[in-house]
């Protein structure tokens, strides 16, 4: 039975600096965001520093817009696919890192850090080259491997295909952090416990679920909740890879919907309202993981 320490001022002093930084910098902007969502605030109002209070009209506009609902469903599915792939592959690669020799581990770590440090815009450009209709490596390789005729195949004609390209780019870019962090968590698993379980005759999957998983569970919960947050609100890669010219209501993601409807049309009040709705949705999507995480710490 673990008991929490309940001594006086110490915890408050420990969190104070962090809280201070956040409140000082984000306090006003967050309050302002809420205010804006209740106002009509376009270019005219921006120039004159004065909005028109219209109550919840912005929100009813959003909820009455069928584009919003379709975009929401599309984004949820997109997020599920990305998070699933990132966490699944991330876990596998972290386990792989444990099992290879030191030289290969170093090789992989360097590769991961290089991938991690690639600026997102550069990642988009590399992907555009690789998936190019005329001379992309992807078409060339698939045809050579006799997986079909992919000469001059355009990967950006259907929404599903566009998303597949974006997903591959995002997962590639997200793996380094997940793999390195999961591997760090794995290194905290006491080797004595693992050896003891193996000596007892437990199979590898059993060792994993009984010994490893409970130790790394907090970190996995964090990574999953963070991945949900990031993948739901991702903007740069889908916007640039699919192309600013190719964005239309049939392939919007939530962040692009926010950008086009809010800022593209200089409707800052509506943009603020969409931001708050997005915040609420992400909170709902990640509540399970966050609650599990908080409860873990309470044991």
């Amino acid at each position: 039975m673990r008991q929490r320490l309940t001594s006086g001022a110490t915890p408050y002093l420990l969190v104070l600096p962090m809280l201070l930084a956040i409140v000082v910098v984000l306090g006003y902007p967050i309050v302002n965001l809420v205010e804006l969502s209740l106002q009509q605030y376009g270019l005219f109002q921006l120039i004159n520093h004065h909005g028109i209070y219209i109550g919840l009209v912005n929100f009813s506009t959003i909820f009455g817009d069928s584009v919003f609902w379709h975009t929401l469903i599309r984004t949820v599915l997109f997020t599920a696919a990305n998070v699933g792939l990132t966490m699944g592959l991330g876990m596998l690669l972290a386990l792989l890192l444990e099992r290879v020799s030191l030289a290969v581990r170093l090789l992989l770590t360097v590769a991961l850090v290089l991938v991690w440090s690639t600026p997102p815009v550069v990642g988009v450009e590399i992907w555009q080259w690789m998936t190019n209709v005329q001379n992309g490596v992807l078409n060339y390789a698939l045809t050579q491997l006799h997986l079909g005729n992919f000469i001059q195949h355009n990967w950006y004609t259907t929404t599903v295909s566009q998303y597949a390209m974006v997903t591959s780019l995002l997962v590639w870019g997200a793996l380094p952090f997940v793999v390195i962090t999961t591997y760090a968590a794995l290194s905290q698993v006491p080797s004595e416990l693992v050896e003891a379980a193996q000596l007892d005759g437990a199979s590898a999957p059993r060792v994993f679920t009984a010994v490893t998983l409970p130790v790394i569970r907090p970190v996995l919960l964090i990574l999953t909740s963070l991945s949900i947050i990031w993948d739901f609100g991702v903007f740069t890669q889908p916007f640039l890879l699919i192309g600013p010219d190719q964005q239309n209501p049939s392939n919007y993601l939530m962040s692009i919907y926010l950008y086009v409807e809010g800022y593209g049309q200089t409707n800052f009040g509506l943009g603020a309202a969409i931001s708050i709705v997005m915040l609420a949705i992400v909170a709902v999507l990640s509540v399970f993981y966050v609650r599990a995480m908080v409860r873990v710490g309470d044991e």
């Binding site: 320490l5 309940t6 110490t10 915890p11 408050y12 420990l14 600096p17 962090m18 930084a21 956040i22 910098v25 984000l26 006003y28 902007p29 967050i30 302002n32 965001l33 804006l36 792989l96 099992r99 290879v100 020799s101 290969v104 581990r105 992989l108 590769a111 850090v113 290089l114 991690w116 440090s117 690639t118 600026p119 997102p120 815009v121 550069v122 992907w127 080259w129 690789m130 001379n135 992309g136 590639w172 962090t181 760090a184 905290q188 907090p218 970190v219 964090i222 963070l226 947050i229 926010l258 809010g262 943009g271 969409i274 931001s275 915040l279 992400v282 909170a283 990640s286 908080v294 710490g297």
Partner: protein, 277 residues
């Protein structure tokens, strides 16, 4: 014994395969940096930079602003990392080891901040910072980066701390260490891998960050390297992809260096001196 070795070889082969797949796009970026312009714009891709040239690297290093912007980025990022990791370690300790009133609220705040769509905050942040003459300055940018880095670092470090049994610190306190001393001397080394992951993440995110840098620094005279890079592709004229790739290659070097340093000093340095349970 030999079965273990052949399994390991098997894993090594898989590992090398994964390495090739992951690193291919990066290889493409680096090899493009060394290719001549005609090879880059060629319709048929060439795997190796057979028309090898250092011209793009020279162009990049001679373009005005490159070195000063790299310096600006380094300053901003290093200050952010040190302060963020430092402050968040202590905040994470509070959340992982203490029970106190308002604890749940702090957790909600920490996770909630990370859910905010950042585009919504750009204009209000600019207006706020402008009031205190912190726009166009590196210090203003550091403040903003800190604010977004802190919740992430706290959240992640807390996760690593929870996995460490409390008994280790209690044992050290029985030996006469103060509570805080126990945290620093026992807990900190044991979550070293977590510190590495968190600090490298903060470094990279701040290093590559564009949205806030673009909003806050455009009216001043100190740009970060991400702004410099985006301006290479921002005009209506032809984009010099060789230069962009050369620049990106150069820009990734500090990240790799930082990772290696941190890996060596934190992960090895701290654990070497830790009191073993």
């Amino acid at each position: 014994m030999s079965r273990k070795r052949s399994t390991r070889t098997g894993w090594n082969i898989v590992g090398v395969g994964v390495f090739l797949v992951m690193v291919f796009p990066v290889y493409w970026m680096i090899s493009t940096a060394f290719k001549s312009d005609s090879q880059i714009n060629s319709y048929t891709p060439s795997w190796l930079p057979t028309q090898f040239t250092l011209q793009h690297f020279r162009t990049v290093m001679n373009t005005p602003g490159f070195w000063s912007d790299v310096t600006n980025s380094l300053i901003v990022v290093l200050v952010t990392v040190v302060i963020a990791v430092g402050l968040s370690f202590f905040a994470a300790v509070a959340l992982a080891r203490y029970r106190f009133g308002g604890r749940k609220l702090v957790i909600v705040l920490v996770i909630g901040i990370q859910m905010l769509p950042q585009t919504g905050l750009l204009i209000p942040l600019f207006v706020l910072l402008a009031r205190y003459h912190e726009v166009g300055t590196l210090s203003g940018l550091v403040l903003v980066y800190l604010t977004f880095a802190l919740p992430f670092c706290v959240w992640t470090l807390r996760g690593f701390m929870i996995a460490i049994p409390r008994e280790l610190e209690e044992a050290a306190m029985v030996d006469g260490a103060s509570r805080l001393g126990a945290f620093v001397r026992i807990l900190l080394p044991l979550i070293a891998p977590g510190l590495v992951a968190t600090s490298v993440y903060t470094f990279i995110t701040s290093w590559n960050e564009y949205l806030f840098a673009n909003t806050l620094l455009r009216t001043g005279h100190h740009y970060t390297i991400t702004l410099w890079l985006s301006d290479l592709t921002g005009g209506q004229r032809a984009i010099d992809w060789g230069a962009v790739m050369a620049a990106s290659t150069l820009i990734s070097i500090p990240v790799v260096v930082f990772f290696l340093l941190v890996q060596r000093r934190i992960a090895y340095g701290l654990t070497a001196g830790a009191v073993k349970a």
